[in-house]
């Protein structure tokens, strides 16, 4: 699908606003949008929100044969997928120019900077090494995918745990996560990319351009740096001519930003570690805010409560004897068959006859009582004349049991 064209009035307005040092969302020239990092339940899964831009990175690993010219090193593989979810102009499967550019930039930023110790990924030299694969999926494009992708990739790599391996002579044992705790990768440093957008032939620059600013920019400068002020990669696209002092100024700004972002990543990793240790819930469901208009939450609706007590007592009168309140001790009629309670024999209903036979044949004692109560309630349901299924929280529990 083609993207919505940019109208002339929008372009003029944006350029005039940038000349007056005003950005669309009220940021300053060197401000980043709000950066939020959340982790999934698996190790190595990370969501990054940069304003409205949203990306997800997933790290996985497998044992493969190493490259011939590097027999003692593991393999790192990076992949950025531009999903059609992110923007109507991204097509599934097609390698667009932007996708090639982003992939190349991410590889240069992370692989060439040697931020991961690949020697430690070697298991048997020349035969088996770990191949670590980082997949970054773009979920929403509101500009500056590169920065979000680099933060997501390095955070996911720091978060990831690979299975433990033991070598005894010729034997190699790979332990599952249950047998031995998986171990983290050895990350030397965290390269983060910072993007600068240039306007009016390099006169004005903005950090972290949003989507509309990206559409009117002349060129883009990407500097990947770590917190030790080492430049890992620098790339300029768009064909603008930059002066030396402009590039120096950008690198100084980038070092400030990178130290802030690295601090944020470390804090997020620590929080996640603490949450996992404490056994608390972690994962995406916990990190989603609950009070947005699009969240699945409704105000309480009024419920017909006028004759609930009447129908309730009616149901109780109509139903047969209630199931026993305590669980009777299991009985073993035949070796290999356990029975708790009397099953459905006490109801004596014709429709339930087939179910009766099936119930008696089942031997697991634990499920028996639960199934008895469940089927008993569904039986009650058939007898009730009117069942109001509403979204009220009071009736929620009952509805679940009916299901």
């Amino acid at each position: 699908m083609k993207e919505t064209p940019l109208s002339n009035c929008e372009r003029d307005f944006l350029l005039r606003a940038i000349e007056e040092k005003k950005r669309l969302d009220g940021r300053q020239t060197y401000d980043y949008r709000k950066l939020k990092i959340t982790f999934g339940t698996d190790y190595g899964c990370c969501f990054v929100d940069l304003g409205q831009t949203r990306v997800m990175a997933q790290v996985s690993c497998e044992l493969v044969a190493p490259k011939e010219n590097r027999p003692t090193e593991g393999i790192l593989f990076f992949n950025i997928e531009l999903s059609p979810m992110a923007s109507p102009s991204f097509e599934q499967g097609r390698q667009s120019e932007l996708s090639v550019k982003l992939n190349r930039q991410l590889e240069r930023c992370l692989r060439n900077s040697k931020c991961i110790d690949t020697e430690s990924l070697c298991v048997v030299s020349g035969e088996k090494v770990w191949q670590v694969r980082v997949d970054v999926h773009t979920l929403n494009n509101d500009g500056n995918l590169m920065d979000a992708a680099s933060v997501a990739a390095i955070t996911a790599l720091c978060h990831f745990r690979r299975p433990d391996v033991a070598i005894q002579g010729e034997e190699v044992t790979v332990f599952s996560p249950e047998e031995r705790d998986p171990i983290p990768l050895s990350v030397y440093h965290m390269p983060i990319s910072v993007s600068f957008a240039f306007f009016q032939q390099g006169t004005f620059l903005l950090v972290d351009p949003c989507e509309r600013e990206e559409r009117v920019m002349d060129g883009l400068l990407m500097i990947a740096m770590n917190k030790h002020r080492e430049i890992c990669s620098i790339q300029s696209s768009g064909g603008i001519m930059l002066l030396k002092d402009q590039v120096m100024r950008c690198s100084k700004i980038a070092s400030v930003k990178v130290s802030e972002i690295t601090e944020l990543i470390s804090q997020a990793l620590l929080n996640d570690k603490a949450a996992r240790k404490a056994g608390g819930k972690c994962g995406f469901a916990e990190s989603m805010p609950q009070d947005r208009i699009t969240a699945l939450k409704m105000d309480q609706t009024d419920v017909e409560m006028t004759n609930v007590s009447q129908t309730g007592s009616g149901v109780i009168l109509q139903g047969d004897e209630a199931p026993p309140p305590t669980v009777p001790s299991p009985v073993v009629p035949v070796p290999g068959v356990g029975q708790v309670g009397q099953g459905l024999q006490s109801w004596g209903l014709e429709e339930e006859e087939e179910d009766d036979d099936d119930e008696e044949e089942e031997s697991s004692g634990d499920d028996q009582v639960e199934e008895v109560t469940q089927i008993k309630l569904s039986e009650k349901d058939k007898k009730e004349a009117v069942v109001e299924i509403s979204d009220s929280e009071e009736e929620e529990v009952e509805v679940d049991k009916l299901n």
């Binding site: 940019l6 002339n8 009035c9 307005f13 606003a17 969302d25 208009i293």
Partner: protein
Amino acid sequence: MFSSLKEKIGEVLLPGDEFVFESEDTIFLTDNVKPERPVCGPGLRQSGNRLVVSKSGVLRHKPPHTFWMDSQQWRYVPAKAETVIGIVTSKSGDIFKVDVGGSEQASLSYLAFEGATKRNRPNVQVGDLVFAQFTVANKDMEPELVCIDGSGRANGMGVFGGGGLLLKVSLGLVRRLLAPQSDIRSDLEQLFPCELVVGMNGRIWVRASTIQQTLIISNLLQSCDTLTAPQRREQFRKLQKGGL
């Protein structure tokens, strides 16, 4: 006859909810009396004497017989006689191709402007904004726009001048802004003078005297989508007190 419908006004209904009317059995000898038929707006569909809800939302009513579903969506589907803001994407032969945010681009003829003749062509460039209404908009044909009304007058439509900012908002907000007594509009009037063009395809064009004011209004309008009425009034009040 509409009692079952009137009970549900203001309630949330889901697609598939049905209302059945009993039709009149007696035949009137005089033609003056017509059976009352409900006028179905968007989200309601009528087949015979059954009225079926086809979109989830809140049921609204306007006396005497008009009912419709008030639902929220962002994607625009062209409908006849709706005024929209379009972006001109190409000029070819006698027509402009205009992007209105729908699945297809609409066509706008050179001659569909006020005072346009074959010699006197309108001054429209690629990338300009136009405010036009649909003459043809159904799912089988390419949509067509015109910038004149039935009698040949522009009536506020046509190509935009320079300046201003275009925003994309939800269709619900656009309808709220265009309603006859609109709270949001009256709140905006008290802030500072601005020019506002609201297209039914979810696009709004804003222009105020300074860039800062334009940015303020555009951010306000975009946040109005997700604010409740008291929150919105709070925001406006804070702005008025804080000045610029």
